[in-house]
């Protein structure tokens, strides 16, 4: 049942993307760059973030003023700030589309589990970066985020108090609170790069860049809202006054309405269960037994073509001494093999084959098929 639904979803996804080719053409179809699109927004965030970093001051007194200074006084300051905000939302959308697509098209498990796991951690990292980013502005919304988050963190048994203390960076809200948020915001951003390395691990030639045309389209998709609907802070935070109303960013701050609607412990349980489910997802479907590619010791000449063509870095070359002429031998790492057979197509020496779909069998099948009277 679950498996059949997934198959239907896969077909629907592919049909939908095929339809989009009529608008974008195959070369610029964003769905064929679904991994590169979030990457594009991430680099936009890094660059705009770097520019904001120059003028931002993380203290209670000057954070709001410095953000306002960037927005109103600096040339193009409001555009940079707007790009930073809208790129963050766009990145969240792109990441969700990316995740849903790999899930629907069955490209998240088995030999790709490491990409899925690092992806879940990347998503959590993004949420923390987003929430701490909204604190940095230090307007009423930021104040409310700090208050609600501190209360919610305290509800976690055992870990709660220390976590809240780290989050506030002390017992009460002070300059150090903002410094901590600033540290989280930037520190975790850089750790994304390490996680991305894990994300790309075992993928040969990951597609990380969009073509120029698509890049311009994506840039305009955040540039236009940034100039038409400039981002502005709400009222400055006053520690003695509790804020009542403020607009929400549903992509990053969705957890706060939950906090006001139910006990924090239940919210944390829901978050915990959802994360566990995401981690368990690759193992919910069972498959036939694995039958990775096999290298023939007598036929392999060490030409490296299969190792170059393997899309999952499952083949590597080792030196060999048992042969007078050939100096290298291809070796398959079974756990990484996807049984796709690309190595078979790359081999001109019948030296690597899939046990369940041997190239010899394919060739006999070809002659059988053609011998039948047409």
């Amino acid at each position: 049942m679950y498996k059949e639904t997934l198959e239907k979803l896969q077909e629907a996804t592919i049909t939908f993307e095929k339809g989009l080719n009529k608008v974008f053409t195959q070369q610029y179809n964003p769905f064929y760059y679904h991994g590169a699109v979030p990457n594009f927004f991430m680099w936009t965030l890094f660059i705009t973030g770097l520019l904001l970093f120059v003028y931002y001051q993380p203290t209670l007194d000057s954070a709001y003023i410095s953000v306002n200074f960037i927005t109103t006084k600096l040339p193009f300051g409001n555009i940079i700030r707007g790009l930073h905000r809208y790129a963050a939302d766009a990145m969240m959308i792109a990441v969700l589309v990316h995740a849903i697509r790999v899930y629907f098209t069955d490209r998240y498990r088995k030999y790709r589990w490491i990409a899925w796991y690092s992806g879940v951690v990347l998503l959590i990292g993004m949420l923390i970066i987003g929430i701490t980013g909204y604190i940095l502005v230090w307007d009423e919304r930021s104040y409310m985020i700090v208050l609600a988050m501190t209360d919610a963190l305290k509800q976690i048994p055992f870990l709660g108090l220390p976590l809240a203390k780290i989050f506030v960076n002390g017992d009460v809200i002070s300059h150090y609170t903002l410094a901590m948020s600033f540290f989280f915001h930037i520190g975790i951003s850089f750790s994304l790069l390490f996680l991305l390395w894990l994300h790309y691990l075992r993928i040969s030639r990951p597609v990380t860049d969009v073509p120029l045309g698509l890049g311009l389209l994506l840039l305009s998709s955040i540039m236009i809202p940034a100039s038409v609907y400039p981002v502005a802070s709400v009222n400055p935070a006053v520690l003695t006054k509790l804020p009542t109303q403020f607009p929400l960013d549903w992509f990053y701050l969705w957890i706060f309405p939950m906090f006001s609607g139910m006990p924090a412990l239940i919210v944390w349980t829901i978050v915990f269960i959802a994360t566990t489910l995401l981690f368990a997802l690759p193992f919910l479907v069972t498959d036939k037994e694995k039958a990775p590619a096999v290298v023939s010791l007598t036929n392999c000449v060490g030409c490296t073509l299969c190792a170059k063509d393997c899309p999952y870095e499952a083949i590597y070359m080792v030196p060999r001494t048992d042969h007078p002429k050939y100096k290298q031998l291809a070796v398959v790492i079974d756990a990484r093999c996807s049984e796709c057979g690309l190595c078979v197509g790359a081999c001109a020496f019948k030296a690597i084959d899939l046990p369940q779909n041997h190239s010899k069998e394919v060739i006999t099948k070809i002659s059988d098929l053609l011998k039948e009277p047409a």
Binding site: E11, Q27, E339, C340, V344, S359, L370
Partner: protein, 134 residues
């Protein structure tokens, strides 16, 4: 009108959905087209195409998924490059290139496939008859 040309399609099992459209390894709609499914178009060796011509095929087409979308990431790209001759192993020069086609179609593209095959048949018919050596 001459007899319909014998065509062999080596097809990725994830591209056009042929499950209900193939009987006895032949397209129901076109019984001169034999179909052989492989895991991915990237698995197709040039020897397989050579073998098909050796066994009397009059046209061979290779079909993989939409370029830009391969389940195994790069299979259709490699296959396309091999057909174009820019990626080793290369197809032997004895293989008549004008009788080989590569189609890159998604699951839902059955209609397009039939159109393309009709076109292919026309092209094959238009080719000059091979000289018979006596």
């Amino acid at each position: 009108m001459s007899k319909k040309k014998k065509i062999l399609g080596i097809v990725c099992e994830r591209s056009v959905d042929l499950k209900k459209r193939v009987k006895n390894n032949k397209l129901v709609e076109k019984d001169n087209v034999s179909i052989l499914e492989v895991t991915c178009s990237g698995m197709i060796q040039p020897i397989m195409i050579e073998e098909a011509f050796k066994q009397g095929a009059e046209g061979v087409f290779v079909m993989g998924c939409q370029i830009g979308d391969c389940h195994y990431r790069e299979g259709n790209k490699w296959c396309q490059e091999r057909l174009l001759g820019t990626r080793p192993p290369n197809i032997k020069k004895t293989v008549p290139k004008e009788k080989v086609r590569g189609y890159w179609l998604a699951k839902c593209d059955y209609g397009t496939l039939i159109d393309k095959l009709n076109h292919f048949e026309k092209d094959l018919d238009a080719l000059p008859a091979p000289e018979v050596k006596s």
